[in-house]
Subunit: 199 residues, 2 copies
DNA sequence: CGTCTATTTGAATGTACTCAAAAGCGGTGG
DNA sequence: CCACCGCTTTTGAGTACATTCAAATAGACG
């Protein structure tokens, strides 16, 4: 029953734009999107493909990563309930995707096609605003992450990550967290050991 | 004469949204912004302040940087003609600025106040769209930069930077370029030496 | 219970770092 | 015009920290 399943996204939109959608507006918007269930370890987007979708996470966890020339994977984003994930570079720039996006858990997603978003933005000013705010928030978060990567060491960033996302250590394997923080799993293991030894 | 001075921004907006603004629309928009000339080495935003402005660079060069706990500066953005610069984190999140923004050359800027942008976005759907696309592009560029920082070494990123911005070596001191690339000036100097030795 | 993967630990290595000093470069004033 | 000054860039030498390689331990799952 999509009305129930999409309640989360309606609240999400309304809270971002700071005003309510009419039922008519939301029904229209709702008709443009679809729900998708995905098993763990499924790849939604392969690096190199074109990505013309945005995914909203209703339930589950995913990560995006890139593989460098020597074959090492680097986690770029970890996404949980209420987050968005996609290859924004590919989506907005019409270029091959930089990242691969893969589920970590069974996921309930809402899929937004690029064409549907374009249409909704044309038709409803409120939806255009929503996506403006979404992009701004994402950009601000990216800036913050860049800032932290310069100004804080791995230990601080690990603690901040766990603090903001307490269940991350249960839901995401440590080697992916290490990768997200930009270090090797051995290094994160040693950092955690040091922290434990200091109590 | 503002009409002439703002022609650049009008073209910029129209090219981003893919349609023309009426004279009426642009005159209204134009009335909300102001021009500003700034001498080199002037600080526009101090880290820690609230930043409620966006700057569009008509002429000149600027950089944003943050200072870490041990006093090292890290360049986050280099902005030239046709670019935007601000502390987007502060601007969108209403938090203290992460970065300091400083001119490198004499600059001609267009200043957008947050309140003016909010008003223009309310009034004109086209302007809302413009700022959506702007934020999306900025985010995509940030993702690309993160991807490159993982997958390419400093030498490749230096070459890419110079390639995309040939006059950067003339306009920006090398130690700032090094900082932008995330290394010490000594390291960039050595990298350049190695490149020269390989011919 | 056995297999596969993740995590931990150890030892050696390497790359960028710090400290330090010299050389280069640009602008100012004598 | 040249000498000096401040700042940037280069170069050298030693260091530190994450990395690599390797192996052992621990956990998860059929």
């Amino acid at each position: 029953m999509p009305k129930i399943k999409n309640r989360m996204i309606r609240q999400h939109i309304e809270s971002k734009i700071g005003k309510a959608l009419t039922d008519e507006e939301f029904d229209y918007f709702s008709s443009l999107l679809r729900n998708k269930s995905v098993a763990p370890k499924e790849v939604l987007i392969h690096a190199g493909d074109r990505c013309s979708k945005l995914y909203f996470v209703q339930k589950g966890a995913l990560h995006s990563f890139l593989t460098d020339d020597v074959g090492n994977a680097h986690v770029v984003q970890l996404a949980f309930e209420g987050h968005w994930i996609s290859d924004m570079y590919s989506f907005h720039m019409d270029q091959p995707a930089l990242f691969t996006i893969e589920t970590l858990e069974p996921c309930e997603l809402i899929v937004f096609e690029k064409s549907a978003i374009a249409e909704a933005c044309d038709r409803l000013h409120k939806i255009e605003r929503f996506f403006r705010i979404l992009a701004q928030n994402a950009y601000a978060a990216a800036q913050y992450r860049i800032a932290r990567s310069y100004s804080a060491d791995t230990e601080s960033r690990y603690l901040e990550l766990v603090d903001k996302n307490p269940d991350i250590v249960l839901r995401v394997p440590q080697f992916l967290i290490a990768s997200y923080l930009g270090v090797k799993p051995q290094s994160l293991s040693r950092i955690r050991k040091q922290m434990a030894e200091r109590r």
